[in-house]
């Protein structure tokens, strides 16, 4: 809408110089209820003469000679053209626009009405985003758009969010879409990881400043971004002012958050009981009684840990000690408006959110000024300016044992968290061997980790009107993002033991984007033509620094200056560049036949010397059947369009120098510098290519039900595949002295197909003056299949690729779970059993010898179908919204099970279900016998794989909108909102929504102590005048 108004303004302004007054027409513009509309635009058709209506909806316009028709427009209303017919007063009543069909959709270097679209673009508006109490805007998009699967990779405050548009196509390149905020592609930013999938690099984007988010799904929509568009493109447009209409808005909400679930683990007595049970079994296997250990003394051949005295164990509920009910609030204020030459939007937002893990907190300060200025008839300039800062007081992530939430689940329950004086206690229990230092509570109190992201987004533009039909626009934008993380671990923490440790990292990211393009827009009779031709260049430069040290004199000292020993320091830098030349031509005939061509010619520094540039074309067509005479006047079908597109896009999200044969340094020894071969050269390396077909039917029935039924088929070929090389090649990919190398050759080989149906329906089920019930539903299917892979070893067969517990195999879903099948417990002896395969490859004998059992395709991280549905009920000013999100048919591998559900084979605390372990008296169970220090069923197997289908009441909102004029010029909405209130699932882990992996990766659904989402209840208001 804003784009349309901007364009209108431009037209009005550019041609005003040629007008001279002949007669004056005045009047009032009002809505259906007779209230005057302020800020409606009135212009004389075919001229540049125009103005905005005043507070009472009145206007008075001098109409130049030849001016015969007035055009009235206003956001959310149908445009009207009224013949003057010599009148001096023209009053107009505006009716509501068709919000769906006349909605303006941002398309990347331009915009289009939904009615005219021939591509697949989903739009989520400000109303659906702004009051949702999530810290990241992606969270507010969850479940809203068919075919877009959004999962937070952890419930940790500020965690990264996976966005998957139409499945997963890439095994080794990123699967995240390209984000473009107000025209600037925002990529190259990494979150920081602390033993987990890392933080969200987009955390500084403030949801309340967003006017709309467009998700570009098919090739016709995305091809304009060429070589990095095949994962879809997310266009974020921030709010702008409207000339002639001043508005101030104040928004607030505040509330509480809790974990949606916590582990149900053993208390002190239960722990002692299972420990002793496990110890006896272990001793029995060696032919003696555990209780005889010490009397046998040195006569035994082994020693172990102490038996625990049952009935006398203390108990600390660590999970309870490290979690809290967090408080969160957000307040924002904005002012917008302008006149015929200037429009502005300025806003400020403050957010303060506690996590449910004690001591975690996220604060965000965000400011924005979006200003447009008409300089003269030909030139309009503008700027968006968005400084922001996020302070994330965090703890280690889920995969790090120093993470309080993880450690709280694992640590000895049978010790006291504090001593009699209330001081932290670090007393080791009798069996306290082989444990990390520190306690969960000690880590909370002694760890001080702060991540600060300071971000400046700026984009400037100039629009030059070259002729009535031709505009040139130049945009120069930059994103400067500074990520600084400082950490201090006290001497009594797991990571700081025994003398304190500290570290600091800094990532400075500068992203410069310069785009220049022409837009041509003209109607010749029944022919409409719209063309865009341009070029964009982007360069991203990253500088990283890190230091760590230890040996502190005092735990109160917080910075590295006080560390006696600097143990590591580093600095690195990297850069990449993209160049994009693009053309888009939209043609329409008689408003019903729509045709579009998009092509982009893209280059990147990342590709091999032989393949720097590629061409990405797409064509699309639409037929608005409802415009045809045979459907005119048909009351049932008010709108009907079929459309289709076919095109190619690319994926270039690989390492900046992945095509090069390199030796890496930092392979130091005895204080001397060293290098090793780290990658092998591939001068032919290029982008992945996705060829996508998209077909859809859009309809509106009885003016009540509208929807889209679509089908897509994406074939991704020339995968950027890290073809595993045998470890015997010795390629040293990692400088780590504890991680092992993973030699690969990045090649363009392999292909993946994603296909599915997407259905979106919205219906006004009841629509009366006082009461309405609206239901909107979206559902999408994903049919994913790996269609080819590399034949690496020359045996004529494509080779499987295994990553962790997941497999890439031709004919299977990408990243299907590949695990030994758990066969339960041998009733005779408590052994865990696993299935072997018989000669035909079918399930064979159960065996206790894990090594001889066979792995099978055991599940899929892809849902069969997923989506969301919203019920909205309104009664007068009262509004109740219930938004459900669901996913059906996907599995999650609970890797944490090997620690917390290993039937006490180590010192870790256990899930309470482990109490049901096999004993000679309890032989019918699926929990193997507890045997201390002995693996019995805790190998990777389907024992830890679970169906993660769920239905979740994602948000429920009760709001009251005060009727217009009740509060004078003030409009007010008050609301209460709950998030993640109810979850229906058979999944026994903490959260079926968890993805557990870093945002770009193809793998998902392998979780390790992933923290669950929070349940929040907030109340707030939106006040405007």
């Amino acid at each position: 809408m804003y784009m349309k108004r901007l364009f209108f303004l431009l037209v009005v302004c550019l041609f005003s110089y040629s007008a001279w007054a002949q007669s004056t027409v005045s009047g009032t513009v009002s809505d259906a209820d007779g209230n005057g509309i302020e800020g409606a635009s009135v212009n004389v058709k075919g001229t540049t003469v125009g103005m905005f209506t005043n507070e009472s909806g009145s206007y008075s316009l001098r109409v130049p000679e030849g001016g015969e028709i007035l055009v009235f427009s206003f956001v959310g209303k149908q445009n009207q053209e009224v013949a003057i017919d010599g009148r001096s007063t023209v009053n107009v009543t505006m009716t509501d626009a068709d919000v769906t069909l006349d909605e303006v959709i941002v398309t990347g270097y331009g915009s289009q009405k939904r009615r005219d679209l021939t591509s697949s673009i989903a739009k989520v508006g400000s109303d659906e985003i702004k009051n949702v109490a999530v810290s990241s805007f992606e969270g507010a998009l969850q479940g809203r758009v068919a075919g877009v699967n959004i999962t937070a990779n952890s419930g940790t405050l500020g965690a990264g969010v996976n966005v998957r548009v139409r499945g997963i196509a890439s095994i080794n390149a990123s699967n995240q879409p390209l984000y473009v905020i107000d025209g600037v592609p925002l990529d190259g930013i990494q979150g920081t990881a602390l033993g987990g999938p890392g933080t969200n690099p987009l955390i500084n984007i403030n949801p309340t400043e967003i006017a709309s988010v467009e998700i570009l799904k098919d090739a016709a929509a995305t091809a304009i971004y060429g070589a990095r568009a095949s994962n879809g493109v997310v266009l974020i447009t921030t709010k702008s002012g409207q000339g002639g209409r001043s508005r101030v808005e104040i928004n607030y909400y505040g509330g509480f958050s809790d974990a949606t679930a916590v582990y149900d683990i053993l208390d002190g007595e239960q722990y002692a009981q299972l420990w002793n049970q496990a110890g006896e079994a272990w001793a029995a296997a060696r032919g003696f009684q555990r209780s005889d250990w010490y009397t046998q003394g040195f006569q035994d051949t082994v020693i172990g840990n102490e038996l625990l005295t049952e009935g006398q164990q203390p108990y600390s509920d660590w999970i309870d000690l490290v979690t809290q009910r967090g408080f969160l609030q957000e307040v924002s204020a904005s002012a917008s408006g302008g006149d015929a030459n200037t429009s502005y939007f300025i806003s400020g937002t403050y957010r303060d959110e506690d996590g449910y893990v004690v001591s975690t907190n996220l604060k965000r300060y965000s400011f924005r000024a979006n200003i447009n200025q008409r300089v003269n008839d030909r030139l309009t300039v503008g700027m968006t300016l968005n400084p922001s800062r996020t302070e994330n007081n965090r703890q280690n992530e889920d995969n790090n044992v120093a993470s309080p939430f993880t450690y709280g689940a694992l640590y000895f329950p049978h010790v006291n968290a504090r001593d009699d004086n209330g001081e932290l206690s670090f007393e080791r229990p009798e069996n306290g061997r082989g444990q990390f230092a520190g306690t969960p509570l000690g880590n909370i109190e002694g760890q001080d980790i702060k991540l600060v992201t300071t971000q400046l987004l700026v984009n400037t533009f100039a629009d030059v009107k070259l002729s009535k039909d031709l505009t040139f626009r130049s945009e120069l934008g930059a994103a400067s993002i500074q990520v600084t993380q400082t950490g201090k671990q006290a001497s009594y923490t797991t990571d700081g033991f025994p003398i304190g440790a500290a570290n600091a990292i800094s990532n400075a990211n500068l992203n410069i984007n310069w785009a220049n393009f022409f837009t041509y827009n003209r109607t010749f009779g029944l022919h409409g033509l719209q063309a865009t031709l341009g070029s964009a260049f982007q360069r991203v430069d990253v500088v990283n620094l890190n230091v760590s040290g230890n040996t502190f004199a005092d735990d109160r000292l917080k910075t590295l200056n006080s560390a006696a020993e600097i143990t590591a320091g580093g600095g690195s830098g990297t850069s990449y560049a993209f160049q994009n030349n693009f053309l888009r031509v939209n043609y329409s005939f008689n408003n019903r036949y729509l045709l579009s061509f998009i092509g982009s010619y893209n280059g990147s520094s990342r590709f091999g010397a032989e393949n720097r540039y590629g061409f990405f074309p797409a064509v699309s067509a639409g037929w608005t059947i409802s415009e045809e005479s045979f459907l005119q006047g048909n009351n049932a079908i008010s709108f009907l369009k079929i459309r289709g597109s076919l095109g190619q896009t690319g994926n270039a999200e690989i390492g900046n120098f992945a095509s090069r044969g390199l030796v890496a340094f930092g392979r130091d020894y005895a204080g001397l510098p060293g290098y090793e071969l780290s990658s092998v050269e591939n001068p032919n390396l290029r982008w992945e290519t996705t060829t996508q077909l998209d077909l859809a039917l859009e309809f509106e029935l009885f003016n009540r039900i509208n929807g889209t039924i679509g089908y897509y088929n994406k074939n991704t070929t020339d995968l950027l595949l890290n073809v595993p090389q045998p470890l015997s090649t010795g390629i040293a990919t990692s400088a780590s002295q504890t991680a092992s190398p993973n030699p690969v050759a990045l090649q363009n080989v392999g292909s993946v197909r994603n296909a599915g149906f997407e259905i979106e329906l919205a219906a006004d089920i009841v629509k009366t003056n006082d009461f309405s019930w609206n239901l909107s539903v979206n559902i999408a299917t994903i049919d994913n299949e790996v269609t080819s892979l590399a034949d690496n070893d020359g045996d004529g067969e494509p080779d499987d690729i295994l990553v962790g517990r997941q497999i890439y195999r031709v004919g299977e879903e990408l990243g299907a779970f590949y695990l030994v099948e758990y066969a339960g417990v041998d009733e005779a002896n408590g052994d865990a059993l696993f299935y072997e395969l018989d000669a035909e490859g079918n399930q064979g004998e159960a065996t206790s010898a894990y090594s001889t059992a066979n792995r099978i395709i055991a599940g899929s991280p892809f849902p069969d179908y997923f989506g969301g549905f919203v019920n909205t009920f309104t009664y007068k000013g009262l509004e109740l919204t219930a938004f459900f999100q669901y996913s059906v048919g996907n599995e999650i591998y609970r890797n944490e099970g090997r620690f917390i559900m290993n039937n006490m084979s180590s010192v870790w605390n256990q899930d309470v279900r482990m109490l049901n372990a096999w004993t000679p008296e309890n032989t019918v169970t699926d929990v193997p016998e507890a045997r201390l220090f002995t693996t019995n069923g805790s190998q990777h197997s389907t024992r830890y794989l679970e169906d993660a289908s769920y239905l979740r009441l994602k948000t429920a909102t009760l709001a009251y909108n005060f009727a217009p004029n009740v509060l004078g010029p003030v409009d007010l909405r008050v609301f209460v909102m709950g998030q993640n209130l109810l979850t229906f699932t058979n999944f026994t882990g903490l959260d079926p929504e968890a993805s557990g992996q870093a945002v770009g990766t193809a793998r998902s659904g392998d979780i390790f102590f992933s923290r669950p989402q929070s349940r929040t209840i907030t109340a707030g208001f939106n006040l405007g005048f």
Partner: protein
């Protein structure tokens, strides 16, 4: 107007298609492969990279010293790492991370060495004539050592079937320069031993006698050759090589602890050098896993080592003599190199404290020190001569004299040797002497990565498992079974 349009259009076209140079970016912390391996300095730097790989915690940095003792009867794993639980229980599977780490980092060392060896003849600068032989010697040393370390885990113990027992692939050409078969099959145990001997023999001739702590010398190469001969049961060869080392520039430290705490001690023949920069992580170093203050002591001294090792060093007669004089004997290896001074307490087991740099994980990892060769020669002499050998007893007594201290009833120090040293008469036959040497070796070298290999060598059950049994031969990592169809898995996996 027309002109403006023309200029803008012109500028756009130039910008769009004429600026390919804009896409030229260069890496900042890596160099292209064709820009290195060119000069003597390049090769010296590459060599450091190879040592760094050898020093990896899954290789010489920790695993080679730790795993042989917990597979065998010296240590028990009490920590939470599932991978080491399985190592200790002789129950690794092909996905085990320690198995993968040993294989992967061994071949990393081998490829690093191969690149140097293939490049060295192409270097033609002023320094190569002087430095070249040493560089070649160090590369061959690292390759030979890596093969020897790997063959002892991935192949059956050396014996009569070694010519057909599979070990690891034999790769002597570099991956990057296109010379290597990237999908090699496994070579035999015998072939890998032969390659190790060949590399180390050549290396010995090229290496200097001293080269800085942590770097290969001719003595280090000789030490490897001695142990290879010893491991193969070629005792005469082992005996003579050990004798050369004993005659070399090494001396026992005054106390056992000094070898571990003083990095410039007199006893070290070869160690990998660790600084606080090398292994700043928590997981994976020797002190992390062994020291009670590391992670609480994942590795405990087994009751068997306490009872049948430390507890059996003093014979009944020796103890009676000491008691008669009111003298108390202390084994410094127990009192200074274990937690709680080696006294067994009810709070759990005892931890070894040979590695105490648990703060910065900067303990050097021991590969060879003089005491090992005193005991090697002693054992080899007895095996070759099959008699109670006086020279062997003298060598054994050197180690005991260093280890034990004695105090009289008043607390004054007296000569421990009087009480703990053996005499020929203490042994009825050669086997009894052998038993005493092997016992001393077990205690002296505990947690330095020898016990499993010793039991394999002498054919004694490893915690109840017969030597050469499937469970004692590590599997080929599943990662490479999956990536290389030329590889055949070991039986039992």
């Amino acid at each position: 107007m027309k002109n403006i349009t023309k200029y803008i259009l012109g500028a756009l076209v130039v910008f769009a298609f004429g600026c390919e140079g804009l896409l030229d970016e260069s890496p900042q912390q890596s160099l292209p492969l064709d820009g290195v391996y060119q000069t003597t300095t390049d090769l010296e730097t590459a060599l450091v990279g190879a040592y760094n790989a050898f020093q990896h915690s899954d290789f010489a940095g920790c695993n080679l010293s730790m795993s042989p003792d917990i597979i065998a009867d010296n240590g028990d794993w009490r920590g939470s790492f599932p991978s080491f639980v399985d190592v200790s229980n002789q129950a690794v599977d092909p996905t085990n991370g320690e198995v993968l780490g040993l294989w992967a980092n061994g071949f990393r060392v081998i490829n690093d060495a191969n690149l140097i060896l293939e490049s060295i003849d192409n270097v033609d600068d002023g320094d190569i004539a002087t430095a070249g032989p040493r560089i070649r010697g160090e590369a061959l040393f690292l390759r030979g050592a890596a093969y020897f370390e790997m063959v002892r885990f991935f192949g059956k113990p050396f014996g009569s079937s070694s010519s057909s027992d599979p070990a690891v692939p034999l790769v002597t050409a570099s991956t990057a320069l296109g010379n290597a078969d990237l999908f090699p099959a496994r070579a035999s145990v015998e072939a890998i031993y032969a390659q190790a001997v060949s590399d180390l023999t050549t290396a010995e001739g090229l290496l200097p006698e001293s080269n800085g702590v942590g770097f290969a010398t001719s003595w280090a190469a000789k030490a490897y050759l001695a142990e290879i001969a010893f491991q193969k049961g070629e005792y005469a060869e082992a005996s003579s090589l050990a004798a050369e080392i004993i005659a070399g520039p090494f001396a026992l430290t005054d106390e056992p602890k000094e070898f571990f705490t003083n990095e410039s001690n007199t006893e070290a023949i070869f160690v990998t050098s660790h600084t606080s920069q090398d292994n700043p992580g928590v997981n994976g170093s020797l002190p992390t896993f062994h020291h009670i203050d590391g992670r609480g002591g994942d590795v405990v001294v087994s009751m068997d080592l306490m009872n049948n090792g430390f507890g059996a060093l003093i014979t009944t007669d020796q103890q009676a003599a000491a008691d008669g004089d009111g003298v108390s004997l202390v084994d410094l290896r127990l009192s200074t190199l274990t937690s709680d001074g080696g006294t067994f307490t009810e709070t759990g087991g005892v931890n070894i404290e040979k590695y105490d740099g648990f703060v910065n994980n900067d303990d050097d990892a021991p590969i060879y020190r003089l005491a090992e060769f005193l005991l090697m020669r002693a054992e080899a002499l007895v095996r070759v001569g099959d008699q109670v050998d006086a020279d062997a007893i003298a060598l054994l007594n050197q180690v005991r004299t260093r280890a034990f201290r004695a105090t009289d009833g008043a607390g004054a120090a007296v000569d421990a040797a009087t009480y703990v040293n053996y005499e020929a008469g203490d042994f009825a036959n050669a086997q009894e002497l052998l038993d005493a040497i092997i016992l001393e070796r077990r205690v002296e070298l505990a947690f330095e990565g020898n016990r499993f290999h010793d039991l394999n060598r002498i054919g004694v059950n490893v915690k109840g498992t017969s030597t050469g049994a499937d469970a004692l031969v590590w599997p080929v990592p599943q990662r490479d079974i999956d990536a290389n169809s030329s590889l055949v898995q070991n039986p039992g996996y």
